[in-house]
């Protein structure tokens, strides 16, 4: 286990450009090392799994309670009809964007470093989407009629309102989920075949064998596979832009100060990728430590992602400034009141300033090279950004709604324990799914990492090859 021994030692960041891969890694050793988490567990895993299971139970309980009693158990009420549920929905779906961004955008841009982290990011996307889908369904009030959102020839003789952004939402999110799942699974096939070939028991061989779908790794299969993978990547790329744009239209087609703004689609997409990258860090950094991935996920990866996060943070800050400027420039009282008075100095001013500081100030750390590669700074900053992005959605939704056009309708929204329970529970479910993923599915794209090690001449095969040739 030469590959296992080395990466456990964290290398001190030396100088840029950092290598995309460190050390010599023969293909077989890489496969063994990266598949190892599938065959053995650890007390830490069990501890985290237990905690996240408790979170999932909390979700189950609060959701059951909500369905049984009705959404009156939540804090939202007219005029704040959308509150935690939609905040959580937008937050989760935004997080889901980094997966496809890293997988699809970067493969088309030929960024080789994506291979080490794309699997984690894609899994994160799928689990985030599962969480996201939960909230609008619960928010329906009668979730068992969810299928009314889908256009199908119903006996009611009516169709969903195609002029509303909500059916667009359903189409965008289901498309995104389907494509993300296919993309993730397609990427997994060669690795599942590796798992099948190395599994210690017959049952595991059979299970991985079924999901590997007869993959043999022949040249013909690889050729077809590559074509399919890039085609799917090309298909997924526009979705990164479209899905959150559609989500933003839920807001911007409404004539409500704070929502009715043309900047929303790009502003939301940037925020989505921003929060998604932060979540990738939150998941990747502990994983890197637990599975000894220091040679594969190097400072090059951390730095590149931190730079992306800085870029997204700057674009988001620009969006904030433009929003405020436009409200002033519009000379419209309601707009000015929302952006210049209600948000910075209204009842939710604390959330507004938390959002501004965490989203705008935090990424400025990454101008400094040392911080771009410091796991501690990256981890804490990412958590800060995730909190900040949640606050952003809360501010957009609640502060726009709670001060209605008539002052007599003004209403202070406060979440109930069920609101908090569902939010905490959804984090639990996310952790639960992610922990199952790292335990049962190769969490690094083994075939891509092996390919990279050969391309970079880091597979230790030169000597053997030379000897064979002679």
């Amino acid at each position: 286990m030469s590959a296992a021994a080395r990466p456990l030692v964290e290398q001190p960041p030396d100088r840029e450009p950092w290598p995309v891969m460190r050390g010599e890694h023969p293909a077989a050793a890489l496969t063994d090392h990266l598949l190892a988490p599938l065959w053995r567990s650890s007390p830490t895993w069990w501890l985290l799994f237990g905690l996240s299971s408790l979170g999932t139970l909390l979700l189950l309980f609060t959701v059951t309670y909500t369905v049984a009693r009705g959404i009156g158990v939540w804090g939202n009420n007219i005029p704040v009809a959308w509150a935690f549920a939609i905040t959580n929905f937008v937050w989760w779906i935004g997080i889901g964007h980094a997966g496809t961004f890293i997988s699809a955008f970067l493969i088309l841009l030929n960024q080789r470093w994506r291979g080490s982290i794309n699997r984690v990011a894609e899994a994160m996307t799928i689990f985030a989407l599962v969480n996201a889908a939960l909230f609008p369904l619960l928010h329906l009030g009668r979730p068992w009629f969810f299928y009314w959102l889908i256009p199908y020839p119903a006996t009611m003789g009516v169709w969903p309102n195609f002029k509303s952004a909500l059916p667009w939402d359903v189409a965008a999110v289901t498309t995104y989920f389907t494509v993300s799942l296919l993309f993730w699974f397609l990427g997994l096939v060669p690795d599942l075949a590796s798992a099948r070939d190395r599994a210690p028991s017959r049952l595991k061989r059979l299970v991985y064998g079924v999901f590997a779908m007869g993959w043999r790794g022949s040249g013909f299969q690889w050729q077809r596979y590559r074509v399919a993978y890039v085609l799917l990547a090309a298909l997924a790329t526009p979705l990164v832009i479209s899905v959150h744009s559609v989500v933003s239209l839920d807001f911007s087609i409404a004539q409500l100060p704070g929502w009715h703004s043309t900047i929303f689609p790009p502003y939301f997409v940037v925020g989505a990728i921003y929060s998604g990258l932060a979540m990738v860090f939150v998941l990747l950094l502990p994983l890197r430590r637990a599975f000894g991935l220091y040679d594969i996920v190097t400072e090059a990866h951390l730095s590149a992602m931190a730079k992306l996060m800085l870029a997204m943070g700057l674009m988001l800050a620009y969006s904030y400034v433009v929003e405020i400027f436009m409200s002033w420039y519009s000379a419209d009282f309601a707009e000015q009141y929302t952006y210049l008075t209600a948000r910075p100095a209204g009842p939710y001013a604390i959330a507004y300033w938390i959002m501004t500081v965490l989203n705008v100030v935090t990424p400025q750390l990454f101008w400094v090279r040392r911080f771009r590669t410091s796991t501690r700074v990256l981890f804490l900053a990412s958590i800060g950004i995730l909190v900040g992005m949640w606050m952003e959605r809360f501010i957009i939704i609640v502060t726009s709604l709670n001060r209605d056009f008539l002052t007599s309708s003004w209403h202070i929204y406060m979440p109930t324990w069920v609101d908090w329970g569902i939010l905490a529970g959804s984090l639990g479910l996310f952790g639960f799914l992610f922990l199952l993923f790292v335990r049962f599915v190769p969490s690094v794209a083994i075939s891509e990492v092996k390919e990279l090690s050969i391309e970079l001449g880091r597979d230790g095969a030169e000597l053997a090859g030379a000897a064979g040739d002679a």
Partner: protein, 216 residues
């Protein structure tokens, strides 16, 4: 080491692909077909009544108008179920003495109404008014079918919202002269598009497709 998957598993793999398609396409299609089936909408199911009342005898045999018994149909939201006293004057003493008429006799003696069973039942969240339909020229048979041919009355229409809307959207295709409202087996004397358009104008029939028309 023997092969992990013997050759027959190829058949299973291919069959499961077909099964997946059937599941994804077939199950929703089957569900959509089922909700339209008479079994699901309770269509054509004869409803047993406390007395074997035969509409055929009364409508075809005796030429009794629907409104003789369903007296409030032009004025009320409900069509009206006749009191027992409506039955008695016509029927001879001998017939009333027969065993078939035992429930009627008991009803008369105890002064309690016959417990007729509702055949055409709309959900509680639907507001429906008979009078407005009849007065705007919607025939009885348009919704209740050929009651004159039913030994035991059954629900003739699917009663789905789509069925309601088919008329609410294009009332001109269904309306008839008020004088013909209770006619069974009605056929328009002029083409329906002519007569329908005229009646819609004459009776001020509107396309009422707002949610709150029926869901109040």
């Amino acid at each position: 080491m023997p092969a992990l998957f013997p050759p027959w598993t190829n058949v299973v793999a291919r069959a499961s692909l077909i099964a997946a398609v059937v599941l994804v396409v077939g199950v929703p299609a089957a569900l959509m077909a089922w909700v339209r089936a008479p079994n699901a909408t309770r269509r054509y199911e004869p409803v047993a009544q406390p007395i074997a009342f035969d509409h055929r005898v009364h409508v075809v045999g005796e030429h009794i108008d629907c409104r003789y018994c369903h007296f409030s149909v032009e004025r009320s939201s409900t069509a009206g179920i006749p009191p027992t006293s409506t039955c008695v004057p016509c029927h001879s003493q001998t017939l009333l003495g027969s065993s078939t008429f035992a429930p009627v006799r008991r009803s008369m003696e105890a002064n309690t109404p016959l417990q007729w069973k509702r055949v055409t039942s709309l959900p509680g969240f639907v507001y429906f008014n008979h009078a407005i339909h009849v007065n705007k020229g919607v025939g009885c048979e348009s919704c209740h079918g050929r009651v004159d041919q039913m030994a035991t009355v059954y629900q003739a229409a699917p009663l789905t919202m789509g069925w309601c809307l088919s008329c609410h959207r294009y009332p001109a295709a269904f309306v008839r002269p008020r004088a013909e409202v209770t006619a069974m087996g009605y056929a328009p004397r002029q083409p329906q598009r002519v007569i329908g358009a005229r009646l819609v104008r004459e009776y001020h029939v509107r396309r009422l497709t707002n949610c709150t028309t029926c869901h109040r």
